[in-house]
Amino acid sequence: MATAPESLAPALPGTPLVKGAGRKSLLQRMVSNRRTSIAGAFLLLVAVVAVFAPLIAPYDYRDIVGKPLTPGGPLGIDDFGRDVLSRLLIGLRTSLGVALSAVLVAGVIGVVLGLVAGYVGRWVSTIIMRGIDVLLSFPPIVLAIAVVAILGPALVNVVLVIGVLYIPRFTRIVYSQVLSIRSMEYVEASEIMGTKPADILVKTILPNVAAPIIVQLSLSVSFAIQMEAGLSFLGLGAQPPLPSLGTMVGAGRDFLEVQPTLLIYPSVLIILVVLALNVFGDGMRDLLDPRHRT
């Protein structure tokens, strides 16, 4: 479960350095980049499928629909006689749901903390940023295991713990952006003109930090999916009969030689979604990174 450092910002080969592309709209530029647009389209598809999973799934994910461990149905039947496709769809929905909620928790708290620390400065920023350092001192999955073990294995606890663990990613980015933007003339000007600090934060600074936040969101979701899968694999995430991609991988191990697809399908799905998120995040960074936009 690789946690990419924040500075992981290499331009992918083939990604045009978007010099002078500033006039085109973001969407136009996205579409013009094949890799990013394919990843984006795939993610859109995944999102739609996840949202409508219960409607799309041919069967109820809990129902016995055939003889266990046989190839029946579109993707086979699992060891409990349930339809694998239906379970994959619901599993995808569970995993994405957990990851998105967790990142949303992290994003909201992290951005607010970063804005406050960057804008107010002084001891407030010291407290916040040292707190962030402390949070970063815990190896994420170790702390997650401990907290979930203490609070009990439940999806809401997984969301909370991943959410808290990912706060630093957002706080640090926003903090450094705010610091650099604050010193810019137009922000100083609006301060002199007596605009309220809250207004400055929301109207001037927030739009400027939006780009890196979006990039971080998509990368964080990819790590959150892996983290959820890892916790579920250890039995600390989704509880049966509700599937998540991680629990499906864990359960599939027992039938690796009888019906390897039980392990392969959820694994491939995790890899594809994470891959798409990474490619998309990278592409977005190239498009949005101010260093590349000048």
């Binding site: 910002a9 040292r130 600390l236 690796l256 990474n278």
Partner: protein, 314 residues
């Protein structure tokens, strides 16, 4: 320099204190009485009272807090509620085993990753670069437990060339010891290696385009020497900071890898304790892991400072 050292060490100490306090409060997160939670609802009042005393829960809150620190400085990390063993009896060896795995994986991923990253950067935009970049982003996207499960099946069961034999102490049988380590190290190193490749590539590309490199090139230096002399060395800085980040990640991932391969590291201690609600052991493992991360970051910062005195702290 001295100011930097003082600041950096103070920061590390403050972090340790805060981490310790968080770990102390972790056990207080437990809904209800931790002693009762540990023993289960069927325990008698006397048993609960004994456990409360063993966990120092019968003392006033501030007393608990300071007692926790006093015992910590005496090297007392508490006693397992389940086995009655002092945590310190097991923890050092387990952490040692985990670190062995983690450091080997780190070494493998750094060596391989830097080599691959260098190849990619010097052939930027050529097919081999594209392949490496695609490969590394794929590697980052592989969940460690999927890789581990598949490696175990293939190399231990189907084509048994690397059987995960019994634990052999490195002193008694170093070769067997390394043999057992191959699969977990490869599993652990895979994702890390991908990250290192990407970062090395990015850092080298940036320096290769930097002005002084262009100057050196203009002065007629052979391309190979340019790479060696200038680009690679400057690229080492991010590699060092990357090392510290990767170490943190690896210390986390090792929990999953150890579980899959049955490596007697901190994971066996942690997962066992998690299942049995053995809170003192959970606390001790979390505290130890976090302490290692803080120390790794401290050393990393010192090294960066030593390589590049201009580097700002943080």
């Amino acid at each position: 320099m001295r100011r930097f050292l003082v600041r950096r060490f103070t920061q590390a100490i403050v972090q340790l204190l805060l981490v310790g306090s968080i770990v102390f409060f972790l056990a207080r997160l437990i809904p209800g009485d931790p002693a009762r939670a540990a023993l289960g609802d069927a325990a008698t009042e006397e048993q609960v009272a004994l456990t409360r005393a063993a966990m120092h829960l019968d003392e006033p809150f501030l007393g608990q807090f300071f007692g926790f620190w006093v015992r910590l400085f005496q090297g007392d990390l508490g006693t397992s509620l389940i086995s009655g063993r002092a945590v310190m009896q097991d923890l050092p060896a387990r952490i040692g085993n985990s670190l062995e795995l983690v450091l080997l994986a780190l070494a493998v991923s750094l060596v391989a990753g830097i080599a691959l990253g260098r190849i990619a950067a010097t052939r930027a935009d050529k097919p081999s670069d594209h392949a490496l970049v695609a490969g590394s982003i794929f590697g980052i996207s592989l969940p460690v437990f999927v890789v581990g499960t598949l490696l175990l099946l293939v190399f231990a069961v189907l084509i048994p060339i690397l059987p995960p034999r019994r634990f052999a102490s490195p002193l008694d049988d170093p070769i067997a010891h390394l043999q057992i380590l191959v699969l977990p190290v490869v599993t652990l190193a895979a994702a890390s290696c991908a990250v290192v490749t990407r970062m090395t590539r990015a850092a080298m590309l940036e320096t290769l385009n930097a002005d002084y490199v262009r100057t050196a090139r203009a002065k007629g230096l052979v391309e190979k020497r340019v790479i060696k002399r200038h680009a690679l060395r400057t690229a080492m800085l991010p590699v060092v900071s990357m090392t510290t980040v990767e170490l943190t990640t690896l210390i986390g991932s090792t929990v999953l890898v150890e579980t899959i391969f049955g490596w007697p590291g901190m994971s066996s201690l942690l997962m066992n304790a998690v299942g049995q609600r053995d809170y003192p052991v959970i606390q001790a493992v979390v505290l130890a892991a976090a302490t290692i991360v803080i120390l790794v970051n401290l050393v990393g910062d010192l090294v960066i400072r030593a390589i590049d005195p201009r580097a700002e702290d943080n």
